[in-house]
Every structure is written in structure tokens, then in C-alpha cells.
């Protein structure tokens, strides 16, 4: 079996298949990163750990940054490690709208198995640090629902640089968990391999064509990520029948506000993303803590010149909180000269969520005692009048470009994640997730990959790896 990509989906499916006795080869485009080369310096690590140096941007209103990890571990290497199970109401929607039999009892053993494999547990207030404590104070004063996040980390000491290479290897990304398991079970893991095509003969997958090699395999599992999987499938002349390939892109667009406190916060001492406020989750609005070293803050501080320098000199007093919107907007990915081009514009409905969310984040930070709040808007722009072009957004969770739907005219893969109309070719990454989740998606992707692996092995998943 040939797995293309070693991120949240590919690494998981490869390890489970290899441990189940399958002959597995994993082809990863990026490198195998050495934690000894992590420097805890964001500007240095962005070009090394991120696809296109973390500068991938959508075309549309507004342009949105798409930070995607590159290498063994994929984006799990650079995410904050936040773990949410797929919300039950989302699973119900998938059943209702996409005909997917993925209700909570079906998914539970897969979630449990992943959570044990990755040592998922709730962050303690001590480890969360002062950035979370400030957000918690604001939420408590306003009576807003909140809590500490669950993360895939073991022996974390709060280095504060999850997104730039964990220096203690505490974050249990798939490059140091599932990939070693796959390797130990006999899987061959090749890095620096650029897969160009999935090969199909008489309606059945027979392997892949890379730049310098061809791999023959009876089963191909594409896990190149939400942005690259549709381009690879299109280049292979596959999955075009439904017209859905590359469409239905959701991004979970996010932004963040900074604030200056009287107290010393030292935001990067502790777990950067450790706390959430879900008071408005039914409206599609979620707040999650976010933090980082000075150079990271300098990049996101919405000021210029002397004013920027003045606020940066108060770095130890700065606090940051992120705002994520569960988007109804739909974008599209297509290939141009072999490279993905992403079109996405924010809908009026999602713009409204950002306006509301920014006003509430301002309210929360002031309730926590902020002296000054720096919303991610240009000078003189208030949340209630902000236009899409005024927002500085990042999309951390792209999903949906090869969506699962039981009906072949509506989806790219079926409920078992097999390509409609082609035998032996499956997809196991965020692209199959058919709708926005409203929460961080890595656990959903990993659980779906686990389910795929056990279905290919023809046996049920046990909760304990």
C-alpha cells in the first residue's frame, strides 16, 4: 500500500496499516526534521518548517494566509496541538446532508485510539501560563463559558513555540509518534519525494508516479493535504466526475487581538494555545489563546513605525487572544502549472461573525483589565464597520476540497473515503471533511484515517493502540 503524505492523515493510516501487517510505503514531499535544529526563533523557523515559508496566500477578499507544515508530521509539526473531537452536531449534519454513517458511536473508538496514541490531556492552569490566566479572568468577569484545551503533549514545559518547532519534543506530532511506529512495523518512509500522479489502470489504482520514480501498489492512499490533494488528483485525471474536486474549501479563518496589561504577562512562557472561550460557539465564533516570542508578535501587531516600537518595548505586558470563525464561505483550489491556486472570499455572513467576534474580544480583554486593545484592523476602523478587506486573516484549518459524500454526483470520495468510480484509491486528509467543524480539525482527520486503516485491514479498531 502506498501512502502519499505523512501528516495528520497519512502518518496515522500508514502506522495502523503497517502494524496490521500490510506492506506500506510512505512518500513524503518534505524533509524529516531534526529537533536539534529548532532554534525557537520564528523568523528562522518559518522558511524551514512551513510550505512556501508560511507565505501561501489565498486570492480573494480579503487575501488570507495559509500556514501549512511541510515534512514528516505535516501541519501537526507546527500546529498548537489542540485536540477537539468532531462536535456531535457536525456528525449529525454529515449524516443528514452527506449520507455519511459517522455518528458518535461509530467514531468513538477511533477518537479514543488516537487520543491514547498521542497522550491527549487537558492543559493545567500552571502550564497554561499568564496569557491564559488573563483571558480566563476576562471570561469569568463576563460570565462567559470557557475552559482549558486538550492537547497532544507529553512532558510539556511550556516552551511557547509550538508553531515553530517544539524544542522539547513534547508535542506529540505524527512525525515523532505514528511515523516511528510505522517504521518499526516495517513501513518504508521516504522523504523528499514529489508525487506527480496517481496511476490508474482499468478503473483501479495501481501506484504513483513521482518525479524520479514509480511505485507500484494495489492500494493508494492520497494524504497530501487539503490544498495539494485536489491538485494531485486533477493532474492524475481523477475524481472530476462530480464537479466537486477542489471546491467546498472551508478555512476556519482566524485573526487575533493583542492588549497591553499593567501586569507582566510574558505570553510565551506557557502553552501558547491552552485556553478557549466557547460562549458564542453556536454563532460560529470561538476564542482561543495564542501567543509567541517577540518576533512573532512584531509580525502580527497592527501598528507601524514609532508606535510599533513603543508597544513592542512593552512586550512583557502584552497578551493575545485569537478569534476563529466557523465559515459558511466556500473557496476553491485548482492547479496552475502544477501549483495550487486558492480562491476564497469571505461571505457577508462570515464578515458579520468577525465584526461581532472582534467587538466581543475587545470586551473580554477590557474586562480582564487591558489598558489598551490592539484589534487587527487599520487605523480608525471599528469592528462594526469593518469590511472584508480590513481584516487580517489566517486560515489554519483548510478542509473539504475532496469532500466525502455517499452520492457520487455530490462527493469526491464515498463514506469509506474511497474515490467514487475508482477502486483502490482512497483519500485520508482534511480534504475529505465535508463541512467546517468550528473546532481544530486534527483529531477528526486522524480518527477518519484510523477508521480507513481498519476498514482496509478488515477488522474493528480497538481503543488501545
Amino acid at each position: 500500500m502506498c501512502v502519499v503524505g505523512a501528516g495528520a492523515g497519512g502518518a496515522v493510516v500508514a502506522a495502523e496499516l503497517a502494524e496490521g501487517g500490510a506492506d506500506v510505503i510512505v512518500l513524503e514531499q518534505g524533509p524529516d526534521h531534526d529537533a536539534d535544529r529548532f532554534t525557537a526563533r520564528p523568523a528562522q523557523m518559518l522558511p524551514r518548517l512551513y510550505r512556501e515559508g508560511g507565505q501561501t496566500v489565498t486570492l480573494g477578499d480579503p487575501p488570507i494566509g495559509l500556514p501549512l507544515g511541510r515534512g514528516l508530521g505535516g501541519t501537526t509539526l507546527v500546529n498548537s496541538g489542540t485536540c477537539f473531537r468532531t462536535p456531535p452536531e457536525v456528525l449529525e449534519r454529515w449524516h443528514r446532508e452527506f449520507g455519511l454513517e459517522l455518528d458518535e458511536p461509530v467514531m468513538r473508538p477511533h477518537f479514543e485510539r488516537v487520543e491514547r496514541a498521542l497522550s491527549v490531556s487537558e492543559v493545567t492552569p500552571e502550564l497554561a501560563g499568564n496569557n491564559a490566566a488573563v483571558a480566563r479572568r476576562g471570561a469569568e468577569r463576563l460570565g462567559w463559558s470557557h475552559g482549558y484545551l486538550r492537547r497532544n503533549a507529553k512532558g510539556c514545559v511550556g516552551s511557547g513555540v509550538c508553531a515553530f518547532g517544539c524544542p522539547t519534543s513534547a508535542k506529540q506530532h505524527t512525525g515523532i509518534t505514528y511515523i516511528p511506529r510505522a517504521r518499526a512495523a516495517g513501513a518504508r518512509i521516504l522523504t523528499g519525494v514529489d508525487v506527480r500522479k496517481v496511476l490508474v489502470n482499468r478503473g483501479r489504482g495501481v501506484g504513483v508516479q513521482a518525479r524520479d520514480a514509480e511505485v507500484r501498489a494495489g492500494t493508494v492512499i492520497v494524504a497530501a493535504g487539503t490544498i495539494n490533494t485536489p491538485v494531485l488528483l486533477a493532474r492524475s485525471g481523477l475524481a472530476g466526475e462530480s464537479g466537486q474536486l477542489g471546491r467546498n474549501l472551508s478555512l476556519h479563518p482566524a485573526t487575533a487581538a493583542l492588549a497591553r496589561m499593567d501586569e507582566i504577562v510574558d505570553m510565551a512562557r506557557g502553552v501558547p494555545q491552552s485556553f478557549y472561550v466557547d460562549e458564542f460557539s453556536r454563532e460560529g465564533i470561538m476564542f482561543e489563546g495564542i501567543a509567541g516570542p517577540p518576533s512573532y508578535v512584531a509580525l502580527s501587531l497592527p501598528l507601524s513605525g514609532a508606535r510599533h516600537a513603543e508597544v513592542m518595548s512593552q512586550y512583557r505586558h502584552l497578551v493575545q487572544l485569537g478569534l476563529m470563525v466557523s465559515d459558511g464561505s466556500h473557496g476553491r483550489v485548482h492547479g496552475l502549472a502544477g501549483h495550487p491556486v486558492v480562491n476564497y472570499s469571505l461571505s457577508a455572513e462570515d464578515l458579520k461573525k468577525f465584526r461581532t467576534g472582534l467587538a466581543r474580544i475587545d470586551q473580554l480583554l477590557r474586562a480582564a483589565g487591558a489598558r489598551e486593545v490592539f484589534l487587527p484592523l487599520g487605523p480608525g476602523i471599528r469592528p462594526e464597520t469593518a469590511q472584508a478587506r480590513d481584516l487580517k486573516l489566517v486560515g489554519f484549518h483548510p478542509l473539504g476540497t475532496a469532500r466525502a459524500d455517499s452520492r457520487r454526483e455530490h462527493g469526491v470520495v464515498d463514506g469509506s473515503l474511497k474515490l467514487h468510480g475508482v477502486d483502490g484509491v482512497y483519500v485520508a486528509d482534511g480534504s475529505v471533511v465535508p463541512s467546517a467543524l468550528g473546532v481544530n480539525p486534527q483529531l477528526t482527520i486522524m480518527a477518519l484515517a484510523t477508521r480507513l486503516a481498519f476498514s482496509l485491514l478488515g477488522k474493528p479498531a480497538q481503543p488501545t493502540p
Binding site: 512556501e52 513555540v161 524544542p167 507582566i264 516570542p293 508578535v297 512584531a298 487599520g378
Partner: protein
């Protein structure tokens, strides 16, 4: 600082590199800065990148309470002591 920015720009998408290089060149020159002053979004993008590189310097970030070298050293010791990957 220039080296950091060069590495950052070189890693970016091919189509964006020339625009980013031009933006950073303007930001480094007084006349360029005057021009950018009339383009607030471009100015903020350029300022943000220059600031990211500026504060990535270990001595500057240490002065603000963030010691990257100590974080890395502690991580390395912990990994080696506990046999972490």
C-alpha cells in the same frame, strides 16, 4: 537581519517573491519609506516583516524577556536526558 529576510523571501511562493523583495527594498530606503507612507497596507506589511526579522535577533528578544537560546538549551537537555526524539 538582512540574511533572515532573504531566507524568508526565498522560501515564499515564486510569484510573490519579486513583489516582496521590492517592498522590502522600499522599506529600507528613506525615499521608499516616503512612498510607502502613502500606501498604508503595503507599509504595514513591510514594517511587519522588517520588525519580525529585527526582533528575531536573540539579543533584542532577550532584552524583552524572551531568551530563545535558553529555551533551546533546556529543550535539548530534556530530550537527551529523557531519550525523547
Amino acid at each position: 537581519m538582512r540574511e533572515i529576510l532573504d531566507e524568508f523571501v526565498a522560501a515564499g511562493p515564486a510569484l510573490q517573491r519579486p513583489a516582496l523583495r521590492a517592498l522590502l527594498t522600499l522599506a529600507r530606503r528613506p525615499r521608499g519609506q516616503a512612498l510607502l507612507a502613502s500606501l498604508p497596507l503595503a507599509q504595514q506589511a513591510a514594517d511587519s516583516l522588517v520588525a519580525m526579522a529585527y526582533y528575531d535577533d536573540p539579543a533584542r528578544s532577550r532584552a524583552l524577556g524572551w531568551d530563545a537560546e535558553a529555551v533551546v538549551r533546556r529543550g535539548r537537555e530534556l530530550r537527551h536526558r529523557e531519550g525523547r526524539p
